[in-house]
């Protein structure tokens, strides 16, 4: 039976494809062209000036463009005019040495081929979140979250006529006023959470308390209406959007969801539960689910329904449902490589699983609050939902390909799919955000000044920096950063050296003292030796180098090109030159010093062996 229900649902989804939104005006010679401001396509609301992916057969990467006109022709063909963005690779020849940002796009500008195109509306493959980071005063500056959520950013334009890259954006691009090119002001408003919540609460006129929300969901689940959630899913975004009265994109919604998880949890739960419940009625009564808020009273009823105990199997059910949901959405997303398609299900998963979890454990939400990184929050939630039920995770996995494109972390999370994993023990994931360290030289210098630099000797030369850190941890219970001294031709083969930087002066001094008084024996009879490290303060690079000779007069007279090249280029000496003769003298010296070093280290080795023979324990 569930299978049949599913296929039915699928069929419904297939049929439901398109709906016009707000009208804008008419045009054309006979006034027979109807312009629109918005439309809903494949469950996604598109508005004028949204950025979208456009799929073209045979192209691996979708094109990205901005909708600047939307209309329907008399023959009912739906058209959109798209102002293009360029990927850096497309304009590589004109970039020169400029290395664009990883997710940077270039807006087409000027006039000519490649600026904008009229396309069939059907080629739109999803929304793309493009943020303008232009320093232009007319551009509302994006917030940190917005930047983090952005699929792409742009701040430069590419003039298609002159093939130049410009930092400035003109008053009008392709007949579009610049204020539509920049970030929208509404975006800012809508990312303002308290306001949003206020709006929502007002609209609903009814706030479902935090503890009641999960019950709503469990109600749904337990009354056997799981499939409603599935239908619901498709329209949730649109409902949410109307709730919020925000015209921004779906992607925009994500930070909101994340933030709400972190701060205003009740709003989040409320919203999810509300939409779920509303949807139940939608699918019961109406065929067109995109309806207005006629369910305020239903909601109220729902809130009053008796509290059901949630049993484990229900939880599993909802977990499986999650998977189905996800699976469907990925099927529905027509462009697999579109990051949007994978992002879409995430907020849902997170909200649902948050609900699930909430039933069992309120503290998780508390933990979430402490987490500032919304992305991570989301992915962990995904992981959690995977943990709920393996079935679900299997299905989610099918979505992996798309997810990976949007963010590698999710992929990791899905692949790891460790059930019952708690947030606190998500060790490997934390590494993703590991901040880059300052250059070692700099750290060494400051450590030297602060006295936290220690030089360790008599290590096994084969040890790595990480192993040295481990040794310090086991020997002294102190964390440190270590760097082994790389071997050169003249390094001792017996005693490996490493520099260690401690967090505090006390730790460094304690370590040196302990090593001096006691003996920390490493394998093969190596007592560790520690001393205060010094940073070699070199006075710049020497201009002269022992062994590189110049004839003073010639040095300044060297006019002839070949002569210059003869010195500056690398070459093998020819045996009939004075250079060769002198080079031989150098080779002799090098060979001699080599043999000295060899002898010295051989002697060292023998001495060490003699001493080590006295050791009782090996």
């Amino acid at each position: 039976m569930p299978a049949m229900a599913c296929s039915e649902e699928a069929a419904k989804l297939e049929n439901y494809e398109f709906k016009w939104g707000k009208k804008r005006g008419v045009g054309g010679k006979k006034k027979d062209i109807q312009f629109y401001e918005s439309f809903t396509y494949d469950g996604v609301d598109y508005f004028l000036y949204d950025c979208v992916y456009l799929h073209k057969e045979g192209e691996p990467e979708p094109f990205i463009g901005k909708l600047v006109k939307i209309w329907e022709q008399p023959d009912h063909k739906k058209k959109v005019k798209v102002l293009w963005f360029f990927y850096p690779v497309e304009i590589l020849n004109w970039l020169g040495d400029d290395v664009p940002l990883e997710n940077e796009l270039f807006l087409a500008s000027g006039e000519g081929v490649g600026l904008a195109n009229v396309n069939s509306l059907e080629v739109i493959a999803g929304k793309c979140n493009v943020i303008c980071t232009s320093k232009d005063s007319r551009n509302p500056h994006p917030s940190e979250e917005e930047l983090e959520m952005a699929d792409y950013i742009f701040y430069r334009t590419f003039d298609v006529q002159q093939c130049t890259i410009l930092d400035k954006i003109d008053e009008k691009v392709a007949g579009v006023e610049v204020r539509f090119i920049f970030n929208r002001k509404e975006d800012h408003k809508s990312s303002d959470i308290p306001k949003l919540d206020a709006v929502r609460n007002e609209k609903n006129g009814n706030t479902v308390a935090i503890n009641e929300a999960p019950q709503l969901l469990s109600e749904l689940n337990s009354s056997g209406e799981l499939k409603n959630i599935t239908t619901d899913y498709k329209f949730r975004h649109s409902v949410i959007k109307e709730d919020a009265d925000a015209k921004d994109s779906l992607v925009k919604q994500e930070p909101l969801l994340g933030e709400k998880l972190a701060s205003g949890t009740d709003a989040q739960l409320n919203q999810t539960a509300t939409t779920d419940f509303k949807q139940q009625h939608v699918s019961d009564g109406k065929t067109k689910p995109r309806h207005k808020y006629d369910s305020d009273e239903d909601e109220g009823k729902a809130g009053k329904k008796p509290i059901n105990q949630v049993e484990d199997n229900k939880k599993l059910k909802s977990g499986r449902d999650l998977g189905a949901l996800d699976n469907r959405s990925s099927k529905k997303a027509r462009l697999d490589s579109s990051a949007r398609s994978s992002e879409e299900p995430e907020p849902n998963i997170s909200s649902l699983s948050a609900l699930d979890k909430d039933r069992n454990n309120n503290s998780i939400l508390k933990k979430l609050r402490g987490d500032s990184d919304e992305d991570k929050t989301k992915f962990r939630l995904v992981k959690d939902s995977l943990g709920l039920e393996k079935d679900a995770s299997k299905k989610v996995k099918s979505d992996e390909k798309a997810s990976k494109l949007s963010n590698g972390t999710l992929h990791k999370a899905a692949a790891a799919h460790a059930p019952e994993k708690d947030f606190g023990s998500d060790g490997p994931e934390l590494e993703v955000a590991r901040r880059p360290d300052a250059p070692w030289e700099e750290r060494m210098q400051t450590a030297h000044e602060q006295g936290t630099l220690v030089l360790l000797e008599n290590l096994d030369p084969a040890y790595t920096s990480a192993e040295v850190e481990d040794i310090v941890w086991h020997g002294f219970r102190e964390y440190c950063t270590a760097k082994v001294v790389q071997r050169t031709a003249i390094s001792s083969p017996h005693s490996g050296q490493a520099f260690v930087i401690f967090k505090t002066l006390e730790a460094a001094e304690m370590m040196i003292r302990k090593l001096d008084e006691g003996c920390l024996m490493l394998p093969n009879g190596r007592p560790l030796v520690g001393s205060r490290g010094t940073y070699p303060r070199l006075l710049g690079k020497q201009s002269t180098f022992a062994g590189h000779l110049f004839i003073d007069k010639v040095k300044f007279q060297m006019q002839r090109e070949e002569m210059k090249r003869a010195v500056s280029t690398s070459h093998c000496s020819q045996p009939n030159t004075i250079e060769y003769e002198m080079a031989m003298e150098w080779s002799l010296l090098q060979a001699r010093s080599d043999s000295w070093w060899k002898k010295l280290y051989k002697q060292h080795g023998e001495e060490l062996r003699k001493h080590k023979a006295n050791l009782k324990s090996k």
Partner: protein, 199 residues
């Protein structure tokens, strides 16, 4: 051999074989110089200078040059051993040899290696021996340092000596050049019936 650690380590071992260690490099040699200089032997994929943290003075630079193939790396070592190779100056040749694992600062941990350490207190019979070993380590480091000093002095000496020799040679060259230029050479040649004209 199947674990990722093993694979990483095997890849590293292969990288070491492809890498040439070059020393006696002038402090003026940069990555670009090295790349162009060794580009004639094959594709240079990476250049990494070994930083000098232990010596408190300027010593010749050392670098690790990663080539595309093991063969290329071997041919460089052979070439540099057989012929003096000049880089950014004359006549002190640079020297190439096969790289060793310990030369890489970012080497991976050898899979399966376990390190055990223990504290040896004054009561332990090994305490004195360990103390001696520590002293020995310090002494050896000091000896190596003085050895390096000695070597640098020798190099300096040779450099000066060669500079003198070069100067003397150049003086001779100048003398010959001057008698040619002021016509003395021509007069003498005519006197003795030699033909000194450049043909």
């Amino acid at each position: 051999m199947g674990t990722p650690e093993h694979k990483e380590y095997a890849a590293f071992e292969e990288k070491v074989r492809r890498t040439v260690y070059i020393d006696n490099l002038s402090t003026q040699v940069t990555e670009v110089v090295l790349k162009t200089a060794l580009g004639q032997f094959g594709n240079v994929t990476n250049v990494q200078f070994i930083p000098n943290y232990t010596e408190l003075r300027n010593i010749p630079q050392h670098a690790l040059v990663e080539m595309e193939t093991v063969k290329q790396a071997k041919s460089i070592v052979l070439e540099m051993t057989n012929y003096p190779f000049m880089m950014s100056g004359m006549p002190r040749p640079v020297r190439g040899r096969a790289a060793e694992m310990e030369m890489f600062g970012d080497r991976p941990i050898k899979p399966g290696r376990k390190i055990q350490c223990r504290w040896v207190g004054p009561q332990d019979p090994d305490f004195e021996v360990a103390k001696n070993l520590k002293r020995l380590t310090r002494r050896h480091a000091a000896e190596a340092s003085s050895m390096l000093n000695h070597q640098l002095e020798d190099e300096e000496k040779l450099s000066k000596q060669q500079a003198e020799a070069l100067k003397a040679n150049y003086k001779k060259f100048e003398m010959i050049e001057s008698i040619r230029l002021d016509g003395t050479l021509g007069r003498l040649a005519r006197q003795y019936g030699f033909n000194v004209k450049d043909d």
